[in-house]
Symmetry: D2
Subunit: 481 residues, 4 copies
């Protein structure tokens, strides 16, 4: 059955054996550790949505590849409508469950990328990568697999190229090519959530040159492969059960993972790039085009949650008609819709690749994601100025729930008639979780840096933009021959 439930996904994880460390200790149990569980919950929403009557039609479809119902995040984009649906699914699922990062986009972005690039490499070099990718995608669809991205290399000294690093392992590379497969070595940073996925995918993150062929590597790999080590940072989840506080963080979040490939063997049938350095730029572009589309979807979900939270906090404070708060909300609505609009534009202006797969336009979504990153601080400011100081000065729920002090809080946190103090406390705890909790700290950092920081996005846009044409037009208009 190709559309799994959250439970099935978790059961599969329970079987997983891997070499993982977190906060100085080895991880034995992925599934029940509160520092990891919130991440599993987050990915779990993509399974829930597939089985949720409200979201089912958006999130599942019949695969033209395996002719079964599949989860949209395992689908290869066929046309503009698929691109729209992908962004829409990110927004709707994120919004419905209040989950800031579903994570699963990256797997979809990677299989689309692998599909296209393997086709192009085969065409140029006569390799047979593409068929392997097709088989893997079929497997992903049939088993409803979650794919973990290991993309950004450790990078070492940023002023040096991969080939110039004193320690070559700071970029993942081939150390041996064997008849049955390859041996790879190196470290991949920022592999968020890779710990609780079903299969890893590695691709290069840097435009390589001819003398850097060994770094041009694309492959899939199981998590229990020998030589793999996962170094993990806990999710920003609260460590004890809470009733009012951290309404988001106690459900969702992600562990951050550094993946070390230490002479890991990858059989040839899992490899789709090995040495074709001239396809690193196209690969990065296709991946970015897909990933930024996803990001504009999920960001708009987060951004519109800010609108809802502001409306709520204004209500519980008795300030629903304050003109400045309403103006803040208007600004946030416009920001949200502009970010989402970028995804729509990427769909409309996308192109169908020769192999039949649809590639969204990377320019508007790169702009949209950079815009969202810049607007984060503004949204936070709007929410905090709307809410007031209690966002940070309200005491713990333990005090509120304690018999000794609870009565005092009940009395003194009471605001508007008809709204219970508890509901007001809950509203503040939501705004706190969106603006200043550890979850917020982590999430905002990810919104700036994840998938490439603003400066990197600007460079990507520029490399894909015809400024020369605009300059020539300006000349013509100015009367310059």
């Amino acid at each position: 059955m190709a559309v799994l439930t959250r439970e099935a996904y978790i059961e599969r994880l329970r079987e997983q054996k891997l070499n993982a460390h977190m906060s100085g200790e080895k991880i034995d149990n992925l599934v029940d550790d509160p520092r990891i569980r919130v991440g599993i919950n987050a990915i779990g929403t993509t399974f829930d949505a597939a089985n949720d009557p409200d979201l089912h039609d958006l999130v599942t479809l019949e695969s033209p590849l395996i002719h079964e119902q599949i989860n949209r995040w395992t689908h290869i984009l066929e046309d503009e409508q698929d691109a729209v649906a992908k962004a829409k699914a990110m927004r709707q699922v994120g919004g419905a469950y209040g989950c800031p990062c579903l994570y699963r986009c990256i797997g979809n972005d990677l299989i689309n990328t692998a599909w296209i690039i393997s086709y192009d490499i085969d065409k140029k070099y006569g390799t047979n990568y593409h068929q392997r990718v097709i088989e893997i995608v079929k497997e992903v669809q049939r088993k409803d697999l979650v794919i973990g991205g290991t993309i950004v290399d450790a990078k070492g000294d940023r002023a040096l190229r991969p080939s110039q690093q004193p320690d070559p392992d700071v970029y993942l590379h081939v150390v041996e090519k064997r008849e049955d497969g390859i041996i790879v070595r190196g470290g991949k940073a920022h592999s968020t959530a890779a710990l609780y996925t079903d299969m890893l995918c590695a691709v290069p993150s840097y435009p390589l040159r001819e003398n850097e062929k060994e770094f041009a590597l694309g492959f899939f790999c199981p998590l229990d492969a020998e030589g793999l080590t996962f170094l993990c940072r806990p999710a920003t989840a609260p460590l004890e059960p809470l009733k009012l506080e951290n309404p988001i963080a106690r459900k969702y979040g992600h562990a951050e993972v550094f993946v070390v490939y230490d002479d890991v063997f990858v059989p040839w049938d899992r490899v789709f790039m090995c040495g074709e350095y001239d396809f690193t730029v196209p690969l990065i572009n296709v991946f970015t085009a897909n990933h930024m589309l996803s990001k504009c979807g999920c960001r708009s979900a987060s951004m519109e949650l800010d609108v809802g939270a502001t409306a709520l906090i204004a209500e519980v404070n008795g300030a629903a008609r304050a003109s400045h708060i309403n103006d803040y909300m208007n600004e946030m609505i416009m920001n949200t819709e502009m970010v989402y609009a970028c995804a729509m534009a990427a769909a409309v202006n996308g192109k169908t690749h020769e192999c039949g797969v649809f590639i969204p336009d990377l320019v508007p979504t790169s702009a949209g994601k950079a815009f969202a990153a810049k607007k984060l601080g503004e949204h936070r400011y709007y929410m905090q100025d709307s809410a007031g100081g209690l966002v940070q000065t309200m005491v713990d729920e333990k005090d509120y729930l304690s018999p000794e002090t609870g009565q005092l809080m009940e009395k003194y946190y009471k605001a508007k008639e008809g709204i219970s103090t508890e509901d007001r406390v809950r509203a503040f705890k939501l705004v706190e979780d969106l603006t200043s909790s550890r979850l917020a700290g982590w999430y905002h950092a990810m919104c700036v840096s994840g998938g490439g920081g603003p400066q990197m996005l600007k460079q990507g846009i520029r490399a894909n933009y015809d400024v020369e044409k605009l300059k020539q037009r300006a000349k013509k208009i100015a009367g310059i021959k």
Copy 2:
């Protein structure tokens, strides 16, 4: 023949008789007056484009109504693709000719609006407005007519409603209903370019109440109707021929027009709303949905011209590699693409009305237009900091062209080897025209206020946005029942 040339449009204007005043004098000759001609040129680009091999396919199509080739600006939108094409045509034509305001969008926005609203009114009230609109649209398509919008009422005291004004004429209203038609009176402000169009269209600009039926008026009207007076402000065109200066203003611009309807008779077959006050809000929404789509198209053309002009000025100054100038360009590119993205989103998220006409989503484009208005000052700042002080301190072309002083300018305005001083002068004159000439002053003001200022757009977005749903979601996430 349904696709006219610029020349045919101008010939038709030459026949026009009207009662018009400008700068204290009566206007006799529309076509040859330099203060008006630039406006005719601007509209002329929509005819040129239809006959331009590069743009023909985008700008013309076969009308499903009259089954002839027509100009896209006379077309009734049928689907998402039409909406995309409408925005794209605004961007491409504006960009190709360097024309900041084609003006003709408003006619298209109005016929689409009239088409839909007349259908809805007929449905509710059993009137027969819709068929009249169909006939008028057929005429517009067959003759390739340019329609002048008379929309925004004079408004009087803003703190009072139409029905409360001491002088009711500050809102256009019916003064008499006759068997053959109606007599209307009132003043319509901001009727940019209406002077050199082929037919006026009047619609209400204010959400009316039951006791304000007389102001609920929609009709078409010839420009030579008795009782019509046009009070005009000259376009910002230079009054004498120039060779280097004002490369845009000497070609394009618009006269601003205040239209006085002083007991003008409108026959019933030109009327499509008369008293149906409850359709003023829908009418304003449909018009806004169309007009903001158009604006996001034309604004992106202007905004990308800023990119080209900055690239050019950097080149002629020898500063093409300055990192701050390149960053300015990156920011302007992202701004441009976000504005255009809003038009794409409006197309993707638009809906087909019961009568078969496509209505774009007004939310993203209203946000996009407000965003563009806000970014104008930033673009100007970027261009001026990239160019330097010569934008304003460079002497007149008369000095440059004078034998006495020209040699000195040739010597002292010379910058980079290989770029002629004249070309550098031309580049500066372009930046001046984009940032600080009278044209720029007019255009930027229009970009802020035209079609509704940012505050009005925010209110429109808010009225069409489901904040309550977002608040309920926030409650659910916070754990509030």
Copy 3:
């Protein structure tokens, strides 16, 4: 001896008996609790500075009141130079120790306010408040006391005035006037750090009317007064000792406190306002004038630390010459200096009150504090885009320090030759603490809301600004009589 050491301050706290609760438990030991100790450390910097050769001259002076050396934070401002020194001390001490909030400003702001307002009330009503304040200030100076502000009332329903609240206790008020003193009741929110001070000061936070005299209350009060309860939220300190992480949070932070006055007796010689509702606006203005001066001082310390941290992270990443990072630094420098400039302007444009005390101008510093609040998000964005994703994805120091995984981190977090991996880790942990840790979340929220959010500051500025004069000038220039 009037200038104490940190140790003496802590010893005094150790004696303190009070009724305080935190996270559902009663607090027994203020001084050794890690959730409180960081706050004591923060205040401790003001004692350290007084004994630090580098800062001594700035932070101590001879009191014209008691003719002994005193700590500047117990001084009553005499002139412009004192105001400059006050802001400078905030910046220099915050900067030297990397402490985001010294807290002690508020005590200085309050004694200056009490001094002036008691004088004015006496003058109008013939009371004898002023002499009492003088005596208290002498005590504060002699003993180098730390004063805790209890200012912002619980407020209840924001749409209702104090006199309209169903529960009057949401605003602190007099419940009985006795011969020897008054009995007060009510809750004061946002009393940051009040827990570990030597004396409380209460003032009104709301402009009161004649029928609200009972809320017009200013007094000083010991922390062990019967009826006082402190409800506390822990500081954002790490709960276990750390070596690399949270370099700031493991040293500095503040507990947040809600103070309940439950029929607390205050003897008359500690009261300086009781019923004089017409002095609440002047009181708020004087307090704001002082407090915003302090804030512009400490904010500029935080903001310039962002510059230093960005320079450091760029260095350890090998990106010190990246033009975008340098531009970010330039922007942050300009922001910093503009905020500090507001403090200087407040000094230059301040006035000497009739009683001889100097009052800074509240307008520039209110603008400066609101500006700083808005720029927080921008600084965070700049730092994160300069640093990259490791700000959030770097594993815990436990992994780095563990023998099993430490070697891997040593290898993979190594960047620039000549900079140790440990130093790079430390640099990232600093940026994390400034941008996305719990400390950052708390601190940024306080920067927005503390002392009044931006909207409240705008209203305060407007109430103290002569817009009418500017309108009259505009009329004259426009030629309007």
Copy 4:
């Protein structure tokens, strides 16, 4: 008599003989040409102010040099109070008369610069420049002279240094040193207003190296010196008399001037730098420190006029209580006060040079001027959204004043009861002049570029800022040794 009247200044100009060209023609009569007269008017305000009872005390003082009353713009700064007064005079005089650019600041900035730098050069090289400057300043004070700055060289190719230019004349340089003086050649751009001053001053604008000694030149020079040519661009004044329109532009503005020194002889007693290339950076810093102080003064006058104009337009539209307009005004007030605050900070943090002259701190005012440049577009946007479309669509005053059409305008531009239509027209014409007239175009461009564009200012700040100290502090806080 050392404090002249406007009339005396104009009479002196009438005697002036010079070789000047404008718009392709030779200029014969400076004083009565409308394209120049507005500039003379602008400078005239500095004489008016000295004789205006309201401003006299601020604008005049007794010279410690000649012991007569002098105009403040001829004064050498002695202390912080002088610096405050200089900025305050810029703001008050600009504000009182509604004059956007008094121009005369530059003369004061230059004599202060020449005074200090000549002292330093003498000290190092044993020259006798300083005494010459003292004599010139005495003359300037006694005769109340207006000094024209010729500072920015033509610059040629920006990618080349002065010594590398194919044509050396694009930087002013010495061509011959004679016993009695020097012969200089080269072109100085952006010499705004220099045409109607009493004496020129030339200084270098570029940090020079040892092999570029010939460009290191500082001197004073009469306007009728042989070999001088003034190439002028007309002020943006209306060319015919107006009654309602352009209330500012018809009074004030400036001609832009390019000054060609074509083998001009300058006697030694007017020279204060000749070859001392190592003093170009100090000279630029001292000049910038003075000029940015002036700019923060005059900008705050312009910025607060925007506040007044917005209040006025809201009143005449009947929108005085609109919350968004009031928020715009609050933002503009805060911007204004922050810019002015930078001038105050420059005064407080300035230093007294060894020669006894006070030098303001260049850092805050450079930041303030760059901030003002960035906020220009925002202010324009605020004013236009507050006013509405009539800013650009209102017809000419000729139509309003014409008997034929005036009645219609009177009827249709009428808004709020109690406010005459004429006053409303005047209010709109003021907003137009501030936002979108040619004056506005010129003025805004000057606000961005004049005295150095934002990027140049950032570089100046950075060169005078101790980032290394901040980095070391960050290291210490992070625990890095």
